[in-house]
Symmetry: C2
Subunit: 224 residues, 2 copies
């Protein structure tokens, strides 16, 4: 470990901030291991990075007790999320990518684009409010609040509308596609097996079986 100093914000550091924002919405403060898992690096690598981010004022870091974003860190994180979702949108709307490709392509893509390119992509896509997976394109913290409940929390007889789906598993997204699940679609729950068993549901007037795992990655608004 080498102690360093610096003021600039690299690509990787933005990625860390983005993941911290995501994780702290589930539980705060965020643990080193959770972040390491999310970033796909070793916990010791995270520790090193936390020192840098802390020194730069992006996070509040209490060794052994996890981290939270500072106001500045939150601002940067939201900018990163906004950019990611605009790029996803650009990839689907302007280049014709499928939504299951958009997320991963965007991850490779989103670094090193200027604010101006981002702005123009946003305008060229008609200032969209959500990404292809239904998540808001944020300007501030409030915009990052995700509405909706997991599909699996619904009971038989209830009707709901899909608002968003987890976008980080391409294969799962492709499978959702084959079931007709995407933001805006109406789902009627017919039944739900016990012990985390599959749901039976109607999507676009077709009867479908939806496993526990998948049904927890689809977020819906109850209609009735």
């Amino acid at each position: 470990m080498t102690v360093t100093k610096g003021v600039f914000n690299s690509d990787h550091q933005r990625d860390y901030l983005k993941h911290i924002l995501h994780l702290q919405q589930v539980s705060s403060p965020v643990a080193t291991t959770a972040l390491a898992e999310a970033m796909g690096v070793a916990p010791s690598s995270v520790t090193d990075m936390l020192k840098k981010l802390s020194r730069k004022g992006y996070i509040n870091y209490r060794p052994y007790h996890g981290i939270t974003l500072t106001g500045e860190g939150e601002k940067e994180a939201i900018k990163a999320v906004r950019r990611h979702r605009i790029v996803e949108r650009f990839l689907t709307d302007m280049l014709g990518f499928e939504w299951h490709e958009a997320h991963e392509e965007a991850l490779a893509f989103e670094h090193n684009i200027s604010d101006e390119v981002e702005r123009r992509m946003y305008v060229a896509c008609n200032k969209p409010t959500v990404c292809p997976h239904g998540y808001p394109i944020p300007s501030s913290v409030e915009d990052t609040i995700v509405s909706g409940v997991p599909l699996y929390s619904l009971e038989p007889g209830q009707i709901a509308r899909v608002v968003s789906v987890e976008d980080d598993e391409p294969d799962l997204l492709r499978f959702m596609d084959s079931l007709g699940i995407k933001p805006g679609v109406r789902i009627k729950v017919d039944g739900k097996d016990p012990f985390k068993g599959p749901m039976q549901a109607e999507i676009d007037s077709k009867k479908r079986t939806i496993g526990w795992h998948l049904a927890n990655q689809v977020y819906v608004d109850k209609v009735s």
Copy 2:
């Protein structure tokens, strides 16, 4: 200096290859200083990189005597140039950037985009054959040959058509724009002052004065 080994081709290495290709079209083998100048880094940094590129088989490196691209290196360099020009095209055609912005934005942008994104940009721009500055979008070495002669080499009375302009000085590009100079435009040379003095020319039936420096950054095909 640390001796290292590795097989992957980073962004920076691609940039080096791109600049080597460009420089060796003017004079070969390429000198360390020339490359350092082009890359905007110190000569010693270039030496380090040359060792890496040589070890990876992209260049033929004779210490103290300059370098040339290998077949493999040329292939990579051409891919980089192709990508750069497609991205420039995308920026002007799809995002509405001016040509003087396109080059610099593309430099920041072109890394980390997948082959598939590049392909789709290419298709979305209707498979263009040249970049916004008139340079070919290459598939092979032959495609990189630049036709045309410097405007300044013309004599009074001659008429020419602009094929390409140097794209690395934004301010100069903006000034060219204000004179109506761009690929495809017809220029009639009226006069040329001695001792590297300015030219007098007609562009779009307007009389213009064009300095030596500028006239050497505009490449034209003689029409008569």
